[in-house]
């Protein structure tokens, strides 16, 4: 893959087809961990690691094991197995290295396993027929898009604490309204045509 192709892939994955605001994948940690910018950033980085390594390993398993033995139908379960193992690994590392972040993420860390964004990127890699570099790059950029989305959202939510809006909107309702406004804003990128 040439550098222009990788650049187009980046713009596409981060802005035009943002995983949260356009594809609506991975909304659970997006809504759940976005109360503070630090936790949001931590979550974004964790997802970046999981998505990138998951893309790499799933590509390898898919090409050299599943396709070799005509076992494409096992993609879903094999990918989930790989993702679950990776997330367990990330949990162990975080608990040892950054216990504060581990406590802050709480239940949302193991929820990355069932996050449709991670499985989604693995399956999209297969559908789009990327090679190894393409798969890893797509995973990385999709996760960067996720991180961008969650940090943007967290910044707005932190300011919402001091805003004056109707009492019935407190908590989740105003968060959902904000998310939809952000999604509408990202629609502005739809017009971008890339040579990829």
């Amino acid at each position: 893959m040439s550098l222009t192709q990788i650049f187009s892939l980046a713009i596409s994955a981060i802005l035009i087809e943002n995983f949260i605001f356009v594809k609506f994948l991975g909304c659970c940690p997006f809504l759940g961990v976005s109360k503070k910018i630090d936790t949001a950033l931590g979550m974004g980085l964790a997802v970046m690691f999981v998505m990138t390594v998951a893309s790499a390993v799933t590509y390898l398993v898919n090409t050299y094991i599943l396709m070799k033995f005509d076992l494409e139908y096992m993609q879903t379960i094999a990918f989930i197995l790989i993702i679950a193992a990776l997330v367990q690994f990330v949990e162990m590392v975080l608990m040892k290295m950054v216990p504060a972040l581990y406590q802050a993420l709480g239940i949302y860390l193991p929820l990355i396993t069932t996050n449709c964004a991670v499985l989604g990127v693995a399956i999209l890699n297969v559908e789009k027929g990327f090679n190894f570099i393409g798969a890893v790059c797509y995973g990385l950029f999709a996760a960067m898009g996720f991180t961008l989305a969650i940090v943007l959202f967290a910044s707005v939510r932190e300011r919402l604490e001091f805003a004056d809006f109707p009492k019935c909107f407190e908590g989740f309702p105003i968060a959902l309204v904000t998310a939809s406004l952000l999604a509408m804003a990202f629609m502005g990128f739809q017009g971008l045509k890339l040579p990829f």
């Binding site: 398993v61 094991i65 599943l66 033995f69 005509d70 076992l71 096992m74 379960i77 094999a78 197995l81 790989i82 193992a85 367990q88 690994f89 162990m92 590392v93 608990m95 040892k96 290295m97 216990p99």
Partner: protein, 273 residues
């Protein structure tokens, strides 16, 4: 057939590989936890009532193992639990007087109503509507806010007044916080005699609004040989550090509102009959 074998073998091998990798990783990234922590958590009653002042039983266990919390702070576990924790940590525990809750009111049907309340069946809500449906602004409203608050099912509404069952109450203080009139207080578990009124109304006024309230006549104060009961602000109160539970004040009270614990159980059994 071969396909099935391939499928099973692939998934099995993948699972095995990742399992081994994770096992290896867990050895490298092992985190040290104090081994006494799960022992302490098991010794606690596990009700997560918060009476100790810590967030749940695990919160208290963590603080105890670190040495920040007193060993006898768990009211629900009592002295038995404190002894067990002391044993696990290898320190000595001090005995604490076991306490239980007591509702200081026996109004209910005896108290005069100001109006018929038909709103939400909650004492806090009722107390906000023109200072409550009773003429007495201190009395128990009997709508069951304390019953809801109790995690041990120890409170029951009998004859329009809340009654605490001594056998179920552990002294977690949740009802004390829940009562909007603040008439539930903690008394020693072995206290036999207690004053069942919280009203500071003057005697003459109180006679109009309740058949059984304290009028501040001081007959109990005169009857007590141990200086344990005093009338302050038109209300009699027992000082449990001096009280010997002889019951002379109960006999002297003309309104019959100083009651023994046995009277409470008989009242409950009357209701059950």
């Amino acid at each position: 057939m071969l396909n099935i074998i391939y499928a099973v073998a692939t998934l099995g091998l993948l699972g095995l590989c990742f399992g081994l990798l994770l096992a290896y990783a867990s050895k490298i990234f092992a985190v040290e936890t104090d081994e006494r922590l799960p022992l302490v958590v098991e010794a606690l009653p596990g009700a997560n009532c918060g009476g100790c002042g810590y967030p749940g039983c695990s919160g208290y266990a963590a603080a105890v193992v670190k040495g920040e919390a007193p060993i006898n702070a768990c009211a629900a576990g009592g002295n038995a639990c404190a002894a067990k924790i002391a044993e696990i940590l290898g320190v000595k525990a001090e005995e604490v007087e076991p306490m239980m809750a007591c509702v200081r009111c026996r109004g209910g049907a005896n108290a005069k109503k100001k109006y018929e309340y038909m709103g939400i069946s909650d004492c806090l809500a009722a107390s906000k509507v023109a200072s409550g449906p009773l003429e007495c602004s201190y009395g128990c409203l009997g709508l069951g806010t304390c019953v809801q608050a109790c995690p041990y099912d120890a409170i029951e509404i009998v004859n329009g007044v809340a009654l605490v069952h001594a056998d179920k109450c552990v002294g977690c203080k949740k009802c004390v916080a829940a009562c909007p009139r603040h008439i539930i207080e903690l008394i020693p578990r072995n206290a036999d005699v207690r004053v069942a009124c919280s009203s500071h109304e003057k005697g003459a006024a109180l006679r109009q609004i309740c058949n059984i309230g304290c009028i501040g006549c001081k007959l109990c104060e005169k009857a007590c040989e141990f200086d344990a009961i005093h009338v302050q602000d038109n209300l009699a109160s027992i000082d449990f550090s001096k009280c010997t539970h002889c019951g002379k004040c109960a006999l002297a009270c003309p309104r019959k509102l100083i009651i023994n614990a046995s009277e409470i159980t008989s009242e409950v059994s009357q209701k059950m009959a």
